[in-house]
């Protein structure tokens, strides 16, 4: 009886396969693993990698489908099915695969092996994918919460370290705070535009005459949305949680937060600003500009004065967020126009490349922190070049890439956003961004000095030797290989990324 009166929207199950695979993988890990004895070592991780790879493979088919049939919206306009969402699905899946590999060695070293962490990765990734594909503020909020709640638990997942617990609580409290901001923004935007659907919000600008527009409500809503998403992207001045949480969380989880978490948040930010609100871009662009400059400077300057490597990398990831905001600013110039410009594809390229870079970097850091995950001081890296030259070379490549040295993926990423900024004549922002990259380079050099040049002190010998388990090595090798390969031949990826700015609306 009820089924006749309440008509559900049509669901294109094929287009939703990535989300279903992620959900299914998480369920298998939770349910099946709970009912079976402990799986042989490493199998949880490799299963997660297989799920992630399956998502990537399916995504390529979906990409082709969109090439043929064009972008569209699903589930009654709530979900966007376009190259943008597929690109982000691939990015987030790549992050799970790489992070799982380093998590495997971490969990077994800490004697915490089990399926829970991997299930949380998959669920969190599902949230990220939903965020990136959302075409409705409510769906976006759902995705945000799925992502965040899984991340709160992940941050606290090392039961034996009080720092991990502290990190989880801090993240939870501040994250809840920012979710409230976001939700309030959603409410105000709904009040102003009459809908939570991006397409409807976009069209409301055209359908309402100037007298009837509730610009005050909408602008307040946009401001609150930017605060909420600024928190998730760790943009200054909403970045204060990041160093503390990054430092305390288990190192592979930190890698996951810096890659998948940030990527999903930036995807959502782009969706909201470019897909739903292009007509207000003149209003929010200065805000993004200021956020970008603050984020760039805070990230670079604060990174230099740290002595804890995880905190350094936390601030460096804030600096990278600044670069992405430069791309967002560039995208906002041409938002909603038939020729959308290079900003959006530049940000998405940056997200993909940075995801691989940062997961690789944290994988190396996770090995160097040794049993207990406590040796995060810069001194723990001394002598790595002599004792573990291959690992040191990998770290060097990844750090140089983060610094934006040519022939690495990091340079391609930076070049892309700077080009997008210059294209829309944002010269000051482009120059400021590059100058902060110089300051940030100082930080990467400090780590490399520790690895290669600094002499070991007697106290350093007390630390146990760095072990390099197979799974972690695979993950690091893939990161480094991809970083160099894209550095030398980025053409195909750039060509592929050019179509992401054609959003489904």
């Amino acid at each position: 009886m009820l089924a006749e009166t309440l008509q559900g929207p049509h669901v294109d199950w094929y287009a939703a396969t990535p989300m279903l695979i992620l959900l299914g993988g998480a369920m298998v890990l939770l349910v099946v693993a709970a009912l079976t004895p402990r799986w042989p070592k490493g199998l949880y991780a490799w299963f997660t990698v297989a799920v992630a790879l399956a998502v990537i493979v399916v995504s390529f088919f979906l990409w082709h489908t969109i090439d043929v049939d064009g972008a569209k919206t699903l589930v009654g306009g709530a979900i966007a099915f376009d190259h943008f969402s597929i690109w982000m699905t691939i990015t987030i899946s790549a992050a799970i695969a790489l992070v799982s590999l380093s998590t495997d060695s971490y969990l077994r070293r800490e004697d915490l092996d089990g399926p829970e962490v991997y299930a949380l990765y998959l669920l969190s990734a599902l949230g990220g994918v939903v965020m990136a594909a959302s075409n409705d503020l409510i769906v976006l909020f759902l995705g945000l919460e799925i992502l965040s709640i899984a991340l709160y638990v992940l941050a606290a997942s090392n039961r034996r370290r009080s720092q991990s617990q502290e990190s989880g609580i801090k993240y939870f409290v501040l994250g809840g705070f920012s979710s409230a901001f976001f939700l309030y923004g959603v409410a105000l935007l709904y009040g102003g535009a009459g809908s939570t659907n991006f397409t409807t919000i976009f069209n409301s600008f055209n359908s309402q005459v100037a007298l009837d527009r509730k610009d005050g409500l909408i602008l307040a809503g946009v401001a609150l949305l930017i605060v909420g998403l600024g928190f998730k992207t760790s943009s200054a001045p909403f970045h204060f949680w990041a160093p503390d949480v990054y430092q305390g969380a288990p190192t592979p989880v930190t890698g996951f937060m810096a890659s998948a978490g940030k990527a999903a948040a930036f995807a959502a930010l782009l969706r909201v600003l470019v897909s739903a609100l292009p007509n207000w871009s003149d209003d929010y662009r200065p805000v993004i500009w200021v956020l970008a400059v603050l984020t760039l400077f805070v990230g670079a300057v604060m990174a230099v004065i740290q002595t804890d490597v995880k905190r350094m990398l936390a601030y460096s990831s804030i600096n990278h967020a600044g670069f992405m905001l430069v791309g967002v600013e560039a995208a906002s110039h041409l938002a909603g126009q038939p020729a959308p410009g290079k900003g959006m594809s530049a940000v998405l390229l940056y997200l993909l490349l940075y995801t691989v870079l940062v997961t690789g970097t944290f994988a190396v850091v996770g090995l160097v922190t040794r049993t207990g995950d406590g040796a995060t001081d810069l001194n723990a890296f001394r002598g790595l070049g002599r004792k573990r030259p291959a690992l040191a070379v990998a770290l060097t490549v990844l750090l140089l890439a983060q610094a934006g040295v040519p022939l690495t993926a990091g340079f391609v990423a930076k070049f892309g956003v700077i080009q997008a900024a210059v294209d829309v004549k944002s010269y000051p922002l482009a120059v400021i961004a590059m100058l902060t990259a110089v300051i940030a380079a100082f930080l990467y050099l400090r780590i490399m000095v520790s690895v290669w040049i600094a002499d070991p002190e007697p106290a350093d010998e007390v630390l146990e030797p760095v072990r390099t388990p197979f799974s972690a090595v695979v993950g690091i090798a893939v990161s480094v290989g991809f970083t160099l390969a894209i550095g030398f031949a980025p053409g195909w990826l750039i060509d592929l990324g050019n179509s992401v700015s054609q959003l489904a609306r």
Binding site: V405, P406, A441, D495
Partner: protein, 515 residues
């Protein structure tokens, strides 16, 4: 020519670096041999280029062009002309000498791998004809040099290496934005599509004066730091003093030339109007650099710092020559790039030998070396005189051409700059006097004479110093056509008309070149 010789030129040392990386670190002799093999192979390629270079031709030769990142309009575009020819040859010939003659003492494998990578980067930068490609090479050379200074340098090496890296990268930040802006703006100013191709932009782009000036300065900051021009020269003495001898030689002889070469190729050639307009500023900075470098060199206590500050002065002359924009001054500038590379490279090798024997480079601790090591002193004297610019040696030819060429367009600057020649004699001769003259004290009595192997290493330098000093015509014949065509390029795009040259050296050389 079908064989892509310039691609091979970049690829051979790069492959060499990878091969060296794969060797065992417990066999330093093998590592050195393999490095030498690749370095000599590269040197052979540069000699081949020199021999088959078409002397009278002004344009780019041995051109290779392949799309690299078509989405961004970036291509693998390499070519060589009279301006870059001798820099490439200098680089190619210098590296095997540095590899065979200067031992790093520890971690041979990594040292030589970085050396070969450095060579690949330098050669790549000199032959790139694509803005993006040039930037890539310009930036990538920082990494090996950073590690060479940081890993094999003296006590304060980490500070010096970091300063070097950060200073240069500061310039690169502007240059990257400038590079992208040039390509983007060129699209709407005559080129029609986004391309980073240097030749295409230089030929077709027609920037508004103010745009061109902004873009020019974005590039000029990077190059001014690299040269280094006053007042951004402060990284150089530190880097030179702390670098290992091999690193100092390469840094002085080749790497600094990236700056002056860049000013010619990506300053004057790409933005002629802006280069003309900013001439007073750059020439003034160059002259200040000449005097400042000379005066500062006089005050130094460390031999290496004396040579480092003399580099600041010498490169000031080169920049003066470049921005005076006359055929003589520019040809002199290009020639002087090579001369400075040879003389200062040799000086750093000699100072490195003193430092190895005495474990100090302090002038105050050295005395009377001429008594115990007369041959060493004689070689030092020849190299030093070439650096001072004694007629009959190479330094004189370059400096003379720069000064008479610049006299036409920058008269009063030349008047001031010429005093720099006298100051050069002052600081170098004074240093020589303190180090080599007098009676050796107890510490310096056991100073070893020049060994055969060391002598053989220095022979090519002395030969080049004397040959270029006596007979510079073969070099000028190859440099002049490209410089002339560059000046014609400037004349076409601005209201500049090159004044008639004075003197006879130039007219004879060019008349024969055309006949």
């Amino acid at each position: 020519m079908d064989f892509p010789i310039l691609t091979a030129l970049v690829a051979v040392p790069a492959v060499g670096a990878i091969v060296v990386m794969l060797l065992s670190k417990h066999r330093p002799e093998l590592v050195k041999l393999v490095t030498l093999l690749f370095a000599v192979l590269t040197a052979g390629l540069t000699i081949w280029i020199l021999v088959s270079f078409n002397t009278g031709e002004a344009g780019f030769q041995f051109v290779t062009i392949q799309p690299w990142i078509p989405a961004w309009g970036i291509s693998w575009h390499l070519g060589i002309d009279g301006i870059s020819l001798f820099l490439v040859v200098l680089t190619g010939v210098l590296f095997p000498l540095v590899v065979v003659g200067i031992d790093p003492h520890h971690d041979h494998k990594r040292y030589f791998a970085w050396m070969l990578l450095l060579e690949a980067g330098m050669l790549g930068a000199f032959v790139s004809l694509d803005l993006f490609l040039f930037f890539v090479f310009f930036e990538i050379v920082l990494v090996p040099m950073y590690f060479l200074i940081g890993g094999w340098g003296y006590d304060n090496r980490v500070y010096a290496a970091t300063k070097f890296f950060v200073f240069t990268m500061f310039g690169s930040a502007f240059m990257l934005v400038g590079t992208i802006a040039t390509a983007v703006l060129a699209k709407s100013n005559g080129v029609g599509h986004v391309t980073f191709d240097l030749v295409e932009i230089a030929d077709k782009a027609n920037f508004a004066a103010s745009t061109g000036r902004w873009l020019f300065f974005a590039f000029a900051i990077a190059f001014a730091i690299k040269v280094p021009l006053f007042p951004v020269h402060t990284w150089l003495p530190d880097a030179h003093t702390q670098a290992p001898t091999g690193g100092s030689v390469i840094l002085a002889a080749v790497m600094l030339k990236l700056g002056t070469y860049g000013l010619l190729r990506f300053g004057v050639y790409l933005f002629p109007e802006a280069a003309r307009w900013s001439r007073p500023l750059l020439v003034t900075l160059a002259v200040i650099g000449i005097l400042w470098g000379a005066i500062a060199a006089t005050m130094q206590k460390d031999l290496k710092r004396i040579v480092a500050f003399s580099s600041v002065a010498h490169l000031g002359f080169i920049v003066l020559g470049v921005f005076a924009i006359t055929t003589q001054s520019m040809s002199g500038g290009v020639l002087q790039m090579i001369n400075h590379g040879v003389s200062t490279g040799a000086l750093f090798i000699l100072v490195g030998m003193i430092s190895e024997r005495r474990h100090t480079r302090e002038v105050a601790h050295l005395k009377g070396l001429q008594k115990v090591a007369p041959v060493f002193a004689a070689v030092f004297m020849v190299v030093m005189l070439s650096s001072i610019g004694l007629p009959g040696l190479n330094g004189f030819v370059g400096e003379y051409l720069i000064l008479i060429g610049s006299f036409l367009t920058a008269r009063w600057w030349v008047v001031v700059a010429t005093t720099g020649v006298i100051l050069a004699a002052l600081y170098l001769l004074w240093a020589y006097q303190r180090v080599f003259h007098g009676e050796p004290d107890e510490d310096n009595k056991s100073f070893a004479e020049l060994r055969w192997k060391e002598g053989l290493l220095l022979v090519p330098f002395i030969a080049a110093i004397v040959f270029v000093g006596v007979y510079p015509k073969p070099m000028l014949d190859r440099i002049n056509p490209s410089v002339k065509s560059l000046i014609e390029h400037v004349e076409e795009r601005t209201n500049y008309v090159e004044p008639e040259p004075i003197g006879t050296v130039q007219t004879e050389a060019s008349a024969e070149g055309h006949g």
